[in-house]
């Protein structure tokens, strides 16, 4: 039965096969299911670690190339975004605390820039490249995001700065405006 309330809207009843099957007897409680899934993920971890390592190499390379600000700059940033996204999407924050944090924010910076067709903020992206190199060094490899609150706070501030730049730009031009040719200046903190 459909309930027509006006000409633009109606409710459509759904035959809920998923619900019927999922609520059948048997299965696992939340705790059981999570425990079993965690065991399954633990078996996958060596593969994930290998993948993260290879994407990290790719990300470092793309960010290094992006520092040149040459004709390939945008392509390098796109490559960095893809590698960073791959790490973000599989790096369990409890295991890869810093990597997960940095790649999540780097992706966000690029997504915000893309969202308003703004030039990629090169200086800020360089900060992320430096942070990535730092956390791979022997001294910092075993540190967590909590251990390096100065670094994480600084990176968070850069995202706020990019959001502010994007917001300002959005007010100045309609959406869909071509990407501005000049890298915007960083606000002073």
């Amino acid at each position: 039965m459909s309930t027509t309330r006006d000409k633009f809207y109606r409710e459509v009843p759904v035959d809920d096969n998923f619900s019927k099957k999922a609520l059948a007897k048997g299965g696992f409680t939340r705790e059981q299911a999570i425990r079993r899934a965690e065991s399954a993920l633990a078996r996958l971890e060596p593969d994930i670690a290998k993948f993260i390592y290879s994407e990290l190499k790719r990300l470092d390379g793309a960010l290094l190339a992006a520092r040149r600000r040459d004709a390939g700059h945008m392509a390098n940033i796109k490559d960095a975004y893809e590698a960073s996204g791959h790490i973000r999407d599989v790096a369990d924050p409890t295991i890869y605390s810093l990597l997960s944090f940095i790649t999540t924010l780097l992706c966000r910076v690029i997504e915000i820039s893309d969202g308003v067709s703004m030039a990629y903020p090169g200086e800020i992206i360089d900060c992320f490249a430096d942070a990535l190199l730092l956390v791979q060094s022997d001294e910092y490899r075993k540190k967590t995001a909590k251990d390096l609150s100065d670094l994480t706070t600084a990176l968070e501030k850069t995202v706020v700065a990019v959001e502010a730049m994007a917001g300002k730009l959005q007010k100045q031009k309609p959406l869909g405006h071509p990407r501005t040719p000049d890298t915007p200046q960083l606000p002073q903190h």
Binding site: V12, K21, F28, A37, L44
Partner: protein, 198 residues
Amino acid sequence: VLSIRNSAINIGGLSFLIADPNPHSGSVIHSILRGFGATRIVDVRTIRDTIQVLIDQKIDMLLLDPQLEKGRGLDFVRSIRRDPNNPCRTMPILIVTGDTRTSAVKAARDCGANLVIAKPVSPAALYERLAWVAFNPRNFAEAADYFGPDRRFKIEGLPDGSGRRSDDSAAPMADAEGPAMSQNEIDNLLQEAQGGGS
């Protein structure tokens, strides 16, 4: 009110389709579903393969990354929902995304997906979404620019004005704007939907 936390769900007899361009990300979801007891799980990397599997097999739930084929994932979900002849039109769809900006989550919701889950996917987050779909079957809503799960929730006791359902008291449906949403914030949206954030 059924308690999701204390009840079991049985997904052993359900079929899942994971559409994720990144095989490693897909394998994380695959492993979690296996851990939950699922035995019928299909992985694909392209929209074309997704369509083929949906034609060939009976799938009970689609888990899809919007980045599928250079960001065309949400358009694909919208096309499933908008086609009145598509047998999968009302199939539960979870959007699994690394992009948790508010605008991205809103876009995922507006394409007609049932729920959104942030990457990296954790077993707890995925279990809660499966349980939510199982315990809260919803009718679909069809409007000029939307076909998908009815996102309106019955609200009682608000003092001002009438809601959008005849038995609602009000309809506070403003869209949140602001920075990216964390998994906790997305979870909070769920909790609110489950009944006042309890």
